[in-house]
């Protein structure tokens, strides 16, 4: 009896630990292979007007297309650098208030229907329909309308001539098929089942979405731009610890943000390799100039520029960067990511000088009191600092900042919150200080959303309610400059003024380390979207493994 049980148990265990059956046949040509992308979460939305999350954008950009593709330099002024995509060419009106796009007649949606000018007009309509509530709508405010000259010529009309009007339409407007989505009432699109099965014109087509488990995209072999080199992309939402293990063991092929503390394992791995990627993001400690308890009253601590500057000067930004990121970190130089076309690393950031910081606080009336905490009019120099639990780096920065502020007599109470709770507090202006990050798009004009007076309020994203008329004027001048050199000059002056006002302590510029399986041969990665050239990633035939060889044969029902 006992020996029978032991034999059965051993057989089951041996079966479970044995390798799988032999490789499926197929997938041996020049094109082929499967890439498993361990994503940090499942997609929130894949229907372009609603896409706001990373994985949703990933799916959107592989399945759908825009009229033109921004170049590798991410130049946003005029149409310089843009490459044809759905539009094979375009013609500017003499007054530059309209652009006529000539659609590529070969372009087909994945259901076989041709792309027409009506689809472009429909896309503009649903992106800007208030009933749809697209987060992209505020970025299309300069677009007036889209008219149809003929079936292959949509004409986009603008309200005014701006340096980035081409970028506005080419980068922000994703073309969706009218014949698929046109029959759904605008206010029902958000929950419509059809929007979960995207139909686009991209080089990958949507195959399957098993919510919370995986999304499968397969090569569109009949695509008018040519089929992608890979057969299949599988996106699996995976917890970071499991994802790192899967990538290191070869069970998954790509992880976009590999845990920094485990990068040495990646360096020495024979299975996967590290790929550092600069990002369109920068992190900072923002200080609320208004009292969170009485919304329109000046903050008792942060409304004073001297205090903000003193706090900025009391932190060793370089030391903290090394502490958190080791050698892989990159210092922030102001209110912009370093990959932005107008970034300027020569701006004067308040230096690390605790003696000067203490003197500034003394001059502002904050004197050292009992217990080493500074006081002014009976109020201690004490404030709360929001940090997100979703970011280990920002959590560590919170602790380091707390320690450094303590040394100059400021007491910090750390408030650790999850993403949703923190977002709610920040957008409700219910905080003293916050360690957060901005993720602008490649347009320098995006700074206006975050740092101009116009960005304050429900339609903007200036959550620090930073306001400076000089900065507003400079950002406006920057947005209307057609010469990139002048644009950069205005941007530098605006950024320097913001830095001098010290609404924030500039902490770090985002550089993430991605992990890629060594059998994959990636194409160049773009800072705004690492997946922009994913259709050109490949796996050489001699490096293919079982999952690469299944080809495009449909699975069993």
């Amino acid at each position: 009896m006992r020996s029978t049980f032991v034999a059965i148990a051993a057989a089951i265990l041996a079966t479970a630990c044995s390798s799988k059956d032999g490789p499926p046949s197929g997938g041996t040509g020049a094109n082929g292979g499967t890439m498993i992308y361990d994503a940090p979460a499942d997609a929130v939305d894949v229907f372009p007007p609603y896409v706001g999350d990373l994985v949703g954008r990933f799916v959107q950009d592989l399945v759908y297309e825009r009229l033109a593709e921004i170049g590798p330099e991410l130049q946003t002024v005029g149409d310089k650098g843009f490459a044809p995509l759905l539009a094979k060419s375009w013609t500017w009106a003499p007054d530059s208030l309209s652009i006529a796009f000539s659609l590529d007649p070969r372009a087909r949606f994945h259901d076989g229907k041709p792309v027409t000018a009506n689809d472009v007009r429909f896309s503009f309509k649903i992106f800007t329909d208030p009933k749809v509530g697209s987060p992209v709508a505020p970025l299309l405010t300069n677009l007036d309308s889209v008219s149809v000259r003929d079936s292959l010529t949509p004409v986009v009309w603008f309200k005014k001539r701006t340096p980035e009007q081409f970028y506005d339409v080419a980068y922000q407007l994703v073309i969706v098929p009218e014949h698929v989505y046109g029959s759904i009432p605008a206010d029902q699109l958000h929950t419509s089942e059809i929007t979960r099965r995207p139909v686009g014109t991209g080089r990958f087509r949507f195959a399957k979405w098993d919510a919370g488990v995986r999304i499968e995209l397969i090569a569109d072999t009949a695509n008018y731009h040519g089929r992608p080199k890979l057969d299949r992309i599988i996106i699996t939402p995976t917890a970071p610890a499991a994802a790192a293990t899967q990538v290191l063991s070869g069970a998954a092929d790509f992880m976009d943000v590999f845990p920094l503390d485990q990068v040495p394992k990646l360096d020495s791995s024979s299975v996967a390799r590290p790929m550092p990627q600069p990002q369109f993001a920068y992190a900072f400690m923002g200080m609320n100039p208004y009292d969170p308890k009485a919304k329109n009253t000046a903050h008792p601590i942060f409304s004073d520029r001297r205090v903000r500057r003193a706090l900025s000067m009391s932190v060793d930004r370089v030391g903290m960067l090394h502490n958190v990121f080791g050698e892989k970190g990159r210092l922030a130089h102001g209110p912009f990511p370093m990959v932005l076309s107008v970034a300027d690393s020569t701006l004067r950031v308040p230096p690390f000088d605790t003696v000067a910081a203490k003197a500034l606080l003394d001059s502002a009336g904050w004197r050292v009191g009992a217990g080493g905490v500074r006081m002014k009019n009976g109020r201690p120099l004490r404030f709360g600092l929001l940090v997100p639990t979703s970011s280990s780096q920002r959590l560590r920065y919170g602790v380091l900042l707390q320690d450094q502020f303590r040394k100059i007599g400021a007491q910090v109470d750390l408030d650790q919150l999850d993403g949703g709770a923190m977002q709610s507090r920040v957008t409700g202006y219910d905080f003293d200080a916050v360690v957060t990050a901005y993720h602008p798009d490649p347009s320098p004009s995006g700074s206006k959303q975050n740092w101009s007076t116009a960005g304050i309020g429900p339609a903007g994203q200036n959550f620090l309610r930073y306001s400076n008329r000089d900065v507003d004027a400079l950002l406006d001048s920057m947005s209307s400059a057609f010469d990139p050199a002048r644009m950069k000059s205005y941007a530098s002056r605006a950024y320097q003024k913001i830095i001098d006002d010290a609404p924030a302590v500039w902490l770090y510029d985002f550089v993430v380390v991605s992990a890629v399986n060594r059998r994959l041969e990636p194409a160049p990665m773009r800072a705004d979207e690492w997946w922009a050239n994913l259709a050109d990633w490949s796996i050489p035939p001699d490096k293919r493994i079982d999952r690469d060889r299944i080809g495009l044969t449909p699975a069993k029902p």
């Binding site: 089951i12 979460a41 509530g133 089942e193 919370g212 995976t238 949703g420 977002q423």
Partner: protein, 320 residues
């Protein structure tokens, strides 16, 4: 027996109602909502528009009344995170969790009983002392950490088993019959083993104590006096009697297993109820959170009722 069953049923319904109400209000009182997720592109105005579109700007009592009416009609709301009705999301997740917890429950009971009996039979011996130390080690491990250790050992240091997911995300669809079964089994091993390790210790300690109370009994002494082999005394007579209190343990173990599943599923990317609930809480997916809490409580209640009924069935004294 019937009266007892009806009484427990009414009691359970009341508990479910209370749990529904509490979970409904607690998740909504937490900061944030389904549309407060971190995304740079979404302005507060857009978020407000979406809130109004789905009625989250209405007063809480009104939202509750709408929820109760919908639930009474079998509609448990819409999951923004899963982009499907809550009932569909649950229908996919519940069987996965039942598979995981069912295997873990069976294994932990079987192994826990065996070890507990063996320890009691050799009380104070080397096996008792060493196995007790090992089991207490596993018992004291936090669920999350224990699962991570199992993952690290068997998927990275000694990579013989997959690190996550319920099946191979690519090849499983191309398998059938035995290979598909093996694939499923391979993916089940680590999460089930983690849950088993974390719960088995409690069962074995409980069983050991129960056996130690039974072994000095008169009927055991009589059996020995009659010359029955020690193995037969232990496994046939003592174990059968000591099993009765273990049925109560079954009811108590369900919440522990479901709680453990929350962490284990997250670590191993096992798309069951635990992962669903954890992600839903993070995303403030209100309807899904409420539904997972309610389903969890129903599962615990059903387990306890079954344990009670089983207890009544095997113990004639209670029936009387």
């Amino acid at each position: 027996m019937r009266r007892l069953f009806v009484a427990r049923l009414i009691q359970s319904l009341i508990v479910v109602l209370i749990v529904t109400t509490i979970s409904f209000f607690v998740i909504r009182s937490a900061p944030g909502d389904p549309f407060s997720y971190d995304s740079a592109n979404i302005t507060p105005a857009i978020r407000e528009h979406w809130r109004a579109q789905f009625g989250y700007d209405r007063p809480l009592p009104e939202q509750f009344a709408r929820y109760v009416i919908s639930a009474a009609h079998g509609q448990f709301g819409y999951s923004f995170q899963m982009h499907e009705p809550v009932s569909t999301a649950l229908a996919q997740a519940i069987p996965r969790t039942l598979l995981l917890t069912g295997v873990a429950l069976g294994l932990s009971f079987f192994l826990g009983l065996m070890i507990g009996v063996a320890q009691a039979a050799r009380r104070g011996g080397w096996f008792d002392r060493i196995s007790s130390s090992i089991l207490i080690f596993f018992y004291s491990l936090p669920d999350f950490w224990g699962a991570l250790m199992v993952l690290l050992v068997f998927a990275y240091w000694w990579p013989i088993l997959p690190a996550g997911n319920i099946v191979d995300p690519v090849l499983h669809d191309y398998m059938s019959g035995w290979p598909a079964f093996v694939d499923r089994l391979r993916h089940l091993v680590l999460p089930a083993a983690s849950l088993t390790l974390l719960t088995m210790a409690g069962i074995s300690r409980y069983q050991r104590t129960a056996m130690l109370e039974i072994l000095p009994s008169d009927f055991i002494r009589t059996a020995r006096a009659k010359g029955l082999p020690e193995r037969q005394i232990i496994w046939r007579h003592a174990l059968r009697t000591a099993l009765t209190p273990m049925v109560t343990m079954l009811g108590l173990l369900l919440p522990v297993l479901l709680g453990g599943a929350l962490f284990v599923e997250k670590v191993f990317s096992w798309p069951g109820m635990g992962m669903l609930a954890a992600n839903a809480i993070g995303a403030r997916d209100y309807d899904l959170v409420t539904a997972t809490v309610v389903v969890g409580s129903v599962m615990v209640i059903v387990g306890n009722v079954l344990a009670d009924l089983l207890h009544v069935a095997i113990d004639p004294r209670i029936r009387e």
